[in-house]
Symmetry: C2
Subunit: 342 residues, 2 copies
């Protein structure tokens, strides 16, 4: 097993110093003749710079972390995180960096992982998502002086960079749509109230309802993002005889749909359903879900770009907010053509 080639070796073979080789590798100024010769040697030897050495010398690793502190079990049952990973991964590749994934399980190892995230010289910055209100994670990042951007709306929006979707406006749109359809006994299946998305979607929906002179009264349940929770919430809501329901996530809506049919009711005839996410493939459910679509992949991509700018020393905290779009399908009973814009 021969020793790995290093800059010095390449330089020797090309008859130049290691600094010159470094320059051609990194695009410094080198005479085209020298450059040609060095590149030839690199090509024939298959030389590749050593990432750790480079990181140490340049004080930058070229890797960004994606931190998802969620109970591992439920994580990928929701397509949301897959999409987010896809978006961040693709943007990360595009800027020539590498993506590290930090998934916190439910185990007691949590704090050890959280501290690994802020290990100096491991990542240049991180994207944090799925945090709950008062999550200590964000303080940790701040304390560790680690560049980071939050996906979602953090508690103290003031001092952080973040990218989010306009959950509130999206939910309001859902309410308006239901109202416009003539439904008068709306219900709500909310998302966890310790998450910003849960709070914003709930408030937005209630606001939209109020605008239309409607209210959920006691027709409100809170789910935990899982399909099963959507099902039990819906089953419970049915007692109040709602004629419409806004479910705060597609996945919970799938469960809600099931509860409706299990109760011998028909969606959309008896009850109109609108959900949030626009992430479950429409053809998966019958009827197809009308949903407030959020651009998850784009959020991920934008988060990466924002992070690179933070790493680069961006000045003022920036808040990026994506708008949602109402995709009208059959579950709401609306007559509008599919995929109509909001």
């Amino acid at each position: 097993m021969e020793r790995r080639l290093n800059l010095e070796d390449v330089g020797r073979r090309a008859g130049v110093s290691r600094s010159t080789v470094s320059r051609v590798v990194n695009g410094g100024h080198v005479s085209s003749e020298t450059k040609r010769r060095v590149e030839a040697v690199i090509a024939e030897t298959g030389y590749r710079p050593h990432a750790a050495a480079r990181s140490l010398a340049s004080n930058s690793t070229g890797v960004i972390g994606l931190v998802i502190p969620s109970a591992a079990g439920t994580l990928f049952d929701d397509p949301y995180f897959g999409r987010l990973i896809l978006g961040t991964s693709s943007a990360t590749n595009e800027v020539g960096m590498t993506l590290a994934l930090f998934l916190f399980g439910d185990g007691p190892d949590e704090s050890s992982i959280i501290s690994r995230v802020v290990t100096p010289g491991l990542v240049d910055g991180v994207i944090v998502t799925a945090t709950t209100r008062g999550d200590p994670l964000i303080d940790h990042m701040q304390g560790a002086n680690m560049p980071f951007v939050v996906v979602g709306r953090p508690d103290s929006a003031g001092s952080t960079f973040c990218v989010d979707v306009d959950n509130r406006a999206g939910a309001r749109t859902a309410a308006r749509h239901l109202a416009a359809l003539g439904r008068s006994r709306p219900a709500l299946i909310a998302a966890p109230s310790n998450t910003s998305a849960g709070i914003d979607r709930r408030n937005g929906f209630l606001e939209g309802l109020a605008e239309a002179g409607l209210s959920v009264e006691d027709r409100i349940e809170e789910g935990d993002w899982s399909q099963e929770s959507g099902r039990t919430a819906m089953a419970r809501l049915l007692a109040g005889q709602p004629d419409a329901v806004f479910v705060s996530s597609d996945r919970m809506a799938v469960g809600a749909l099931r509860a409706v049919s299990e109760a011998g009711l028909n969606c959309p005839r008896d009850i109109s359903v609108v959900s949030f996410d626009g992430i479950v493939p429409p053809d998966l459910t019958t009827p197809r879900l009308t949903s407030v679509v959020q651009p998850v992949t784009e959020v991920g991509e934008r988060a990466v770009r924002l992070l690179t700018s933070v790493i680069g020393g961006a000045a003022a905290p920036e808040h990026v907010v994506f708008q949602t779009r109402l995709a009208v399908r059959e579950s709401c009973g609306g007559a509008a053509p599919a995929e109509t814009g909001a």
Copy 2:
């Protein structure tokens, strides 16, 4: 912005040399008195070793890569990859390492990513999955002298470490079950024949059928793992009036189920369906899918452990094969109780 603390600094404050601090950090032999003092300083200063420096000096990064060279778009529509990521992530955390994710998009950047994977000093080894027959990726790994394990059955099984599930036996079980149910006109929706899973599931199913004196004749279609492909394949198969079908993945089976009902037929009465994966939540479909369950999360975990042993210099190539288990539910029309073992 003050300079980061390093070993020397900590040593100075504790009145010892940098080596001693290194020893307490890494668990070397140190007198308990000294150790106490050093740890106190570390605690109060919040010192954390610099990962890159450590990697450079120790020639080991503590990160392993997960490489998924699949068209990005379809990647996370299938819950398989999410589960795999979960398994690898959890095992990676357990052994105190970090997970890097390399998702190859469809872009032309593919070769640049593939070469980033083998960058020295970036990862200690990689887990490669979702490769197709003749995939150049594996040769790259071998050529780069990078420790790796394959999830799946690689072309040249001889020289590599890999972990796979017994797709062939699992598919055989499906065939036997269908035969035992008295079905006589079985059909097959195969997975891509350029993947080992596709090949093995197809062969296993045909073998199992043959054992029972049955054959698919021309009732065979090939899907591309997508739900939509399952649907069109099923629609096409219906012309041959099959009374049973083995669908090579849950996701395609969801599509197949849809095609069945769209044709005005009933599953399981008119047609018995058994799929492979056991990964789509049973309650998502009506009827609930009978499926050959593969332990995806465990596969991921095992792959990590195997990789660490390869990195540690494991001797003989090892092939780990997990068995599958038939979960009988309603879609096959079998009377057996749910979740019966195979």
